[in-house]
């Protein structure tokens, strides 16, 4: 196992520079996690599209039933348990498909029961409320069913890259800890086997990594640092570079006096316009400075490379924005330091 790891790393050090394809081939499953409101879904979409544009078939797995992901790719209908293609590949660019599906615990449970010779009683179990009792009696069982299904998709090499849009921060730790928790609680049986296989998946950096997302603001930075250490300590999962989302693209020259700038361009400013331009410029400079401070603070607190994504002044997220962000993420990946053998 160790030999294989160093071999992979050696190859990626030697021949493959960290281009998007190389980056996305380091591991089959990337779990995207972060505090609510930091743009997890946006990053999942951009990441998947980047991988697909690099020729890797990508499957996004959504577990909270949110509609944002489908809409980001211009799809009106919500996602379903059946896989759909969100962004078809092909064409001259050689892009691969971005596909997506939901994976709810209930669906995963029914599938699990079917696969384990309990097809006939699965309906009764659901209907009688027995499932409620069991899932209460064995906390984490719902999470383990979802992760177990992800593991099955990984094992079958169902896509070149599987992007799992994880629950929001605190829940993400609980979600990923479910497997180790179950190993303590359940000593025998197929659920234990399932939990063990999920632990194996989570602890193998060649199969699975967590990509954390944050904003360059004080609270999100604090929380992402805390989550990162919890994930490493308690779950033992490897961390991919951390994505800092929503950074104002840096504009230089914002400190120049509008009146002076106007005279240099031989332009005329209307009454009060200089003040408005100055106020807007000051606001941006102030925000840019705060962001730079938080980015530096994150770098100090968390020894992970950072991938920066720009704030898009269009507040909506559609296919065009996803492509812009995918390109930006690709640029950020190319700027990453050379991978170091673990």
């Amino acid at each position: 196992m160790r030999a294989l790891t160093s071999l992979r790393m050696a190859v990626s050090r030697g021949e493959l520079h960290l281009d998007p394809a190389g980056f996305c081939s380091q591991t089959r499953v990337l779990i995207v996690a972060g505090k609510g409101g930091v743009g997890k879904t946006t990053v999942s979409a951009a990441l998947a599209r980047m991988a697909a544009l690099a020729g890797l078939t990508t499957l996004i797995v959504e577990i909270e039933g949110k509609s944002g992901l489908a809409r980001a790719f211009g799809r009106v209908q919500p996602l379903t348990y059946e896989e759909v293609t969100l962004a078809p590949g092909g064409g001259r660019s050689g892009a691969a498909d971005v596909r997506a599906r939901t994976l709810t615990p209930d669906d995963a449970l029914i599938e699990y029961l079917h696969d384990h010779g309990m097809r006939r009683i699965s309906k009764r179990l659901m209907k009688s409320g027995a499932v409620d009792v069991v899932s209460t009696a064995v906390p984490g069982i719902r999470d383990i069913l979802v992760l177990g299904k992800v593991k099955a998709l990984e094992r079958d090499a169902h896509a070149d890259l599987i992007v799992l849009d994880a629950p929001a921060a605190g829940h993400a730790v609980t979600f990923l800890m479910s497997a180790t928790g179950l190993l303590d609680a359940v000593r025998v049986g197929p659920i234990r086997t399932q939990a063990q296989e999920v632990v194996d998946l989570l602890s193998d950096p060649n199969r699975c990594q967590v990509l954390l997302v944050t904003l360059a603001e004080e609270t999100p930075v604090n929380e992402v640092v805390e989550t990162a250490f919890k994930l490493e300590d308690r779950v033992g999962v490897s961390l991919a570079p951390v994505v800092v989302n929503g950074l104002y693209p840096t504009l230089t020259g914002l400190d120049i006096d509008p009146v002076e700038a106007a005279s240099r361009s031989s332009a005329h400013l209307r009454n009060g316009e200089a003040e408005t331009l100055r106020a807007a410029a000051d606001f941006r400079r102030h925000r840019q400075q705060l962001q730079a401070e938080q980015v530096a603070r994150l770098a100090d607190a968390l020894p992970l490379p950072q991938l920066h994504l720009p704030y898009l002044f269009t507040t909506g997220l559609g296919p065009a924005e996803v492509d812009v962000l995918a390109a930006a993420l690709g640029d950020a990946v190319r700027g990453l330091p050379e991978p170091v053998a673990r």
Partner: protein, 352 residues
């Protein structure tokens, strides 16, 4: 939002990361300023705000915050497990029963890790504080949930479990039922044991048996909590940020509350960009014409903010229309994270 009541119970809800905790604390502070005895219950505050509120650790009993207001300001950071433990002790038939439950492996799982327990205990704590009559105003922020309305459903989760037919069969004490029990229950238990292992089943049976006699108390308590949530006097404040995705969630949230027979009593839209005047498209044109010059950069920047502001305003209008005639509050992007009483005062100054 001056018309927002400063007495009773206020629940701040909305999706994660929109600033519920900050708004909840600002509302409690405003209550204290108006001479009320106000208490804010927070679930998982950011550390610096927690420190400012004297919430260095989980306390589970409110701590008083001193300041120059005529009323009182108290704060509490919810300790889910202790709250649940207290509930068990309250309804147990005696020390022995409480001890057996608290020591049970399944109970420890439920009280510590069960999704929904945190929501349940937040509402339980809210009810307890309201019931004690120590405070005029109790403000609670809801946990970030996987599903928007988990906190409304939370108190019912345990009673639903207690009502479960199989569970009821398990705890039936008298011998007369024993025969009827065995056929259905044994089959079920065998299936469960096959999947998760016999120990889990043993723990579960022990838990259900230990719980015997307590379900009525729990059920009544959950009913009280539900009644409080459904009480028209209970105020629901929907907190949102003006981004497309969170607005979408807030609209969904408002619909779900409405379906549950609950109206949004106030809306707070947090982190609005400053406006710098209305856009008319001219600034973008000038930015393009002047591209490459310093003035072009300044216009491009102004155009960025005016465009984003215009979209935020349309999101805002959509939300405000959704919850009309509820009052709406706007909180702009503040230059710093809110992490002390001054920050809360600043938020409050935009709301009241």
């Amino acid at each position: 939002m001056r018309e927002l009541p400063d007495q009773g119970v206020v629940i701040c809800c909305g999706s994660g990361g929109v600033g519920k905790t900050t708004v909840a604390a600002a509302l409690a502070l405003e209550g204290a300023r108006r001479g009320r005895r106000a208490c804010v219950v927070t679930i998982d505050p950011a550390k610096r705000l927690a420190d400012a509120l004297g919430l260095a650790e989980l306390t589970n009993t409110p701590g008083k915050i001193e300041g120059d207001w005529s009323g009182e300001l108290w704060a509490l950071m919810l300790d889910t497990k202790t709250t649940f433990d207290n509930l068990v002790v309250r309804y147990a038939g005696g020390e022995e029963q409480a001890r057996r439950i608290l020591a049970n492996g399944l109970y420890r799982n439920i009280s510590g890790a069960l999704s929904g327990t945190q929501e349940y205990m937040a509402m339980e704590k809210l009810y307890e504080l309201h019931d004690e009559d120590r405070f005029d105003l109790v403000v609670v922020d809801t946990p970030p949930t996987r599903n928007a309305l988990d906190f409304l459903d939370a108190p019912r989760r345990l009673t639903r479990l207690l009502d479960n037919r199989i569970f009821r069969l398990l705890v039936m004490p008298t011998r007369a039922y024993l025969k009827a029990v065995s056929a259905a229950t044994q089959a079920f238990l065998r299936t469960v044991a096959k999947v998760v292992g016999a120990e889990v089943v043993g723990d579960a049976v022990a838990f259900f048996q230990a719980f015997e006699g307590m379900e009525q108390g729990f059920r009544e308590r959950a009913q009280h909590v539900n009644d409080l949530l459904a009480d028209p006097a209970t105020v629901f404040v929907l907190v949102a940020s003006p981004r497309a995705d969170t607005v979408e969630e807030a609209l969904f949230f408002a619909d779900k509350l409405h379906e549950a027979g609950i109206d949004v009593d106030a809306l707070v839209v947090n982190r609005l960009h400053p406006r710098f005047g209305d856009t008319n498209g001219a600034e973008r044109e000038r930015a393009d014409t002047l591209a490459g010059s310093d003035l072009g950069t300044l216009y491009a920047n102004l155009a960025d903010f005016r465009e984003v502001s215009a979209r935020e305003e349309s999101h805002f209008a959509e939300l405000a229309a959704k919850v009309a005639p509820a009052p709406v509050g706007r909180v702009p992007f503040l230059s710093d994270d809110v992490h002390d009483l001054d920050g809360l005062t600043a938020v409050g100054s935009h709301l009241f």
